[in-house]
């Protein structure tokens, strides 16, 4: 299994998902070999074997003048055996991949320890050479070295494909697709790509051409595709032209947590509406602000918390100021885990107005902290959580009405909390792992249900 993130080094839902999923798969008696770019040494033990790509020697290195070239060569990759000397790319900044150069904003996550992208470094050589090949010191994360690392990682994958025994290749998101393709070409084993997010979700129509191309390549090469929601499946069909029967929807689970009681702290008054997440286009922060303005016409005492950061933050702050709502808005920036718990404890209703959310685990974390939630219909989580108010992200009238209703009608808030709290126990990684187990079996024994 190839995954770019694994706890504790996670920056988004991806790492959490990889952890939850592998843990549940091990309970299903699946042997999991999980390859990460870099191990920190304090990963939680979940029964799967963790391998750091940084410790696998690469015997064949392709010189890379440009990432494009790199990619083209990669496509025709064959193992040529022995060790060659190498040339190292200096920087990727020549390529117009704006969003990739802003990894701090676009891929950081609000609720876990954060991998801050390191400053751009000129890297002139591989670090060490060993008997098994040269070792590449992966940084992981999503810094400016990302594309380079993605292809280095693919080279590691081909080493692993030769040395390890396995039945199915399972790759999580585009960073690992080249690796999966390399492993498939060398081993002939079936390949699953697991789509946690697409470039379309991350960047709307302004996505990176290169990332999109890598995604296409992976999706085409895959024997089966796993999407985390119907919503994502729909995007894969419409934006990537993938046939419906190739895609299996396997909803994410949520790792059970003790529900904390709702001792609402009167930090900001009795009515607090909270937006938690990256403040980026994808998360719909401007719809939150517009709905807030409407709510304030009826409930002038409501406070709105926007916790998180992102590339939209400056314009959101300006918008709030322009609408003269600043006295009612609180921008917290990134919060640490316990700070998030404090905010949620003071929250009357959590709002996720995402424009496109492949799954969206954060509302479920709010549910675990006994907070009623309002989520957009354009999210995967709305397919599995029925005890929430649901609106279209663009419908700020409906959103403001939903907020007002939860604030005004106490029994609504209580029922939402109670029923969501019960329903969340049914959204498990065990279910997801069982589905995947079946899928593995079909692929390993060459059964296709269609």
């Amino acid at each position: 299994m190839f995954g770019w993130e694994f706890p504790p080094q996670i920056s988004g839902g991806l790492g959490t998902a990889c952890y939850g999923l592998t843990r549940a798969l091990v309970q299903e008696n699946i042997d999991v070999l999980f390859v990460v770019p870099k191990l920190m040494g304090n990963e939680p033990d979940n029964g799967s074997r963790l391998v750091s790509a940084s410790h696998i020697g690469i015997r064949q290195i392709i010189s890379t003048d440009t990432a494009d070239q790199h990619f083209t060569r990669f496509k025709h990759f064959t193992r040529e055996g022995c060790f060659t000397t190498l040339e190292v790319p200096s920087t990727l900044s020549a390529y117009n991949m704006v969003h990739l150069q802003e990894p701090v904003y676009t891929l950081e996550h609000w609720n876990h320890s954060i991998t801050v992208a390191e400053p751009v470094q000129e890297r002139q050589s591989f670090t060490t050479h060993s008997e098994t090949g040269s070792l590449y010191d992966f940084k992981g994360g999503y810094g400016p070295q990302l594309i380079e690392e993605v292809f280095r990682y693919a080279q590691v994958a081909s080493e692993i494909a030769i040395t390890e025994e396995f039945d199915v290749i399972h790759a999580h998101d585009w960073m690992t697709y080249p690796a999966a393709i390399a492993a498939k070409r060398l081993s002939g084993k079936p390949m699953i790509v697991h789509v946690h997010a697409t470039e379309f979700d991350r960047a709307g129509k302004q996505g990176s051409e290169m990332v999109y191309t890598i995604e296409r390549e992976g999706l085409d090469e895959a024997d089966r595709i796993v999407a985390v929601s119907q919503w994502t499946k729909q995007i894969l069909m419409e934006r990537y032209g993938i046939a419906s029967d190739k895609i299996e929807v396997v909803h994410n689970g949520v790792i059970a947590e003790e529900r904390t009681s709702s001792d609402i702290k009167q930090m900001l008054g009795s009515h607090v509406v909270t937006f938690l997440g990256r403040i980026t286009y994808q998360k719909g922060p401007e719809y939150f602000v517009e709905a807030a303005a409407k709510v304030l016409t009826l409930f002038p005492e409501v406070h709105f918390v926007m916790a998180g950061s992102g590339d939209f933050l400056p314009q959101i702050i300006e918008k709030v100021a322009r609408m003269k709502l600043s006295s009612r808005f609180h921008f917290t920036g990134f919060l640490k885990r316990d700070e998030i718990d404090q905010v949620l404890a003071a929250t009357s209703v959590y709002v996720m107005p995402s424009v496109s959310e492949p799954f969206g685990i954060t509302p479920l974390e709010a549910v675990q902290r006994n907070v009623p939630i309002i989520i957009s219909n354009q999210s995967g989580v709305s397919e599995v959580m029925h005890h929430a108010l649901k609106v279209d992200f663009w419908d700020t009238d409906a959103l403001s009405q939903a907020i007002c209703s939860v604030l005004r009608y106490g029994s609504l808030s209580r029922e939402l909390k109670r029923n969501a709290g019960k329903a969340i126990d049914l959204i498990t990684w065990e279910k997801a792992a069982q589905r995947l187990n079946t899928l593995y079996y079909e692929l390993a024994t060459n059964i296709h249900p269609n």
Partner: protein, 443 residues
């Protein structure tokens, strides 16, 4: 309260009652939170018209036509209907031909109409006064349309308890239909005629939920449908010693819940024909059962029961906080609304008591949740609650301003009364008494 019915004598002493519930709620408009206070129209007349017209085409008209034909062919066939006042009003406005076809059925004399609350409401849980007002309102409605006075009562969703039974008996009814819920029967037969524990003259007819649901919910399972032969065979296996079998279901079962293509109308035809030909059962109306069957034991029901869901209690309408909150709100308005003496406000208040509004707010999952979802036009119970509460919030404002108006009117009347009947101050009264006394003394 006397219903004229032709009595057809047969040899059989076992009676079979076929009771159909006819109801369409007055569904609410989508009321925007921000329009609270602007007094928008509460009821979605367009949606209600559309639905009642559709159900008329699929169910009411063809089913009535079929029953009429069957009764003409086999005068032994008798059925009973309970038609809510809300449904009657919708027929009157949107599909008068449905009303006419029910009148034709009424004219055969083979059809009994039951009494219920006019608004298909939960009034029996509000107050005895209000309950009675709504029952009489419905009785007037039935008399106006069909020229008959019901003598048997059925409460909304067959909700029943000893208390409700006592109230209904006091209104002059001779019996009531409720559900043969296992936990109250405690092993006793569901096929007997029971009586109220405090009033032997007040009879309880128990719907057989298993045989009724075989048609209403289990007629079609997968691709197979229940055959009339099989069903009548089940009926025929009921021992001769059991005096009465009551089948009760939504009339919409015929053609709406089960579409015509499923063969449901043929099932009904074949079933009734077989029952008539087999002569095991006498098809009867509830009033006839009460008149001819001797009741045995008293059946005491302390906690309210109903025919809904698996639990057959009030939980389908008052099972969660939202439902209780909404219901408490409408209930608490009884005195304020009545004090306004504003007829349109009182009518709206009653229409807001219709049980369906609360049913839509049910969050029970699994099998029951599916049934609730089938009957709801809201995307979720939460939206149903929000919309209802938005309506109620607006309604409360109307009630407040109307009662302020009423208080003002009252004050004006009081002033006028005082002007016309000037009050003599106490000192003046005393003075005049003293003067009188002095005069008396001096004489």
């Amino acid at each position: 309260m006397n219903l004229q019915l032709t009595s057809t004598q047969t040899n059989s002493s076992q009676r079979l009652v076929l009771y159909f519930q006819v109801h369409q709620p007055a569904r609410l408009n989508k009321i925007n939170f921000f329009s609270i206070g602007s007094h928008p129209e509460y009821f979605d007349h367009a949606l209600n018209a559309e639905i009642v017209q559709r159900v008329a085409t699929d169910c009411y008209l063809p089913a009535n036509r079929l029953l009429l034909q069957l009764i003409e062919k086999h005068p032994e066939i008798k059925v009973c209907f309970s038609i809510s006042g809300v449904a009657l009003a919708q027929f009157e406005h949107y599909v008068p031909e449905v009303l006419r076809s029910f009148q034709e059925l009424a004219n055969t004399g083979n059809v009994e109409f039951l009494s219920e609350t006019n608004h298909h409401s939960l009034a029996s849980l509000i107050s005895a006064d209000e309950f009675q007002i709504q029952v009489f309102e419905h009785a007037e409605n039935i008399y106006r349309h069909f020229g008959v006075r019901p003598s048997v009562f059925r409460n909304t969703e067959l909700i029943y308890s000893n208390t409700i039974g006592t109230q209904v008996a006091q209104m002059g009814f001779k019996g009531m239909i409720t559900d043969g819920v296992d936990r109250v029967l405690e092993g006793r037969s569901p096929f007997q005629l029971y009586q109220h524990p405090d009033n032997a003259a007040f009879k309880l007819l128990l719907r057989n939920n298993s045989l009724s649901d075989d048609i209403a919910f289990r007629y079609r399972q997968g691709n197979t449908t229940l055959s009339a032969e099989r069903y009548v065979n089940w009926l025929n296996h009921i021992p001769d010693s059991e005096p009465v079998v009551i089948l009760g279901m939504d009339y919409e079962t015929l053609g709406e819940h089960h579409k015509q293509a499923t063969g449901i109308f043929d099932f009904l035809t074949s079933m009734l024909t077989r029952v008539v030909n087999d002569k095991k059962f006498t098809l009867s109306t509830p009033a006839e059962v009460i008149d001819h069957v001797t009741s045995g034991q008293a059946l005491s029901i302390e906690q309210p029961i109903s025919w809904a869901d698996e639990r057959k209690d009030l939980s389908a309408w008052l099972g969660n906080d939202m439902q209780r909150d909404a219901f408490d709100m409408v209930k608490s308005l009884e005195n304020p609304v009545k004090r306004t003496a504003n007829t349109s406000l009182i009518a709206a208040w009653r229409a807001l008591q219709t049980s369906d509004h609360f049913y839509y707010m049910c969050t029970k999952k699994l099998n029951d949740g599916d049934v609730h979802a089938y009957f709801s036009h809201y995307p979720s119970p939460y939206e149903a609650f929000i919309n209802y509460m938005n309506v109620m919030s607006d309604f409360v404002i109307r009630v407040k301003s109307a009662s302020a108006q009423a208080d003002l009117t009252e004050a004006v009347k009081q002033n006028e009364y005082e002007r016309q009947h000037p009050q003599v101050p106490v000192w003046a009264e005393r003075q005049s008494a003293e003067i009188r006394q002095e005069l008396f003394v001096s004489h």
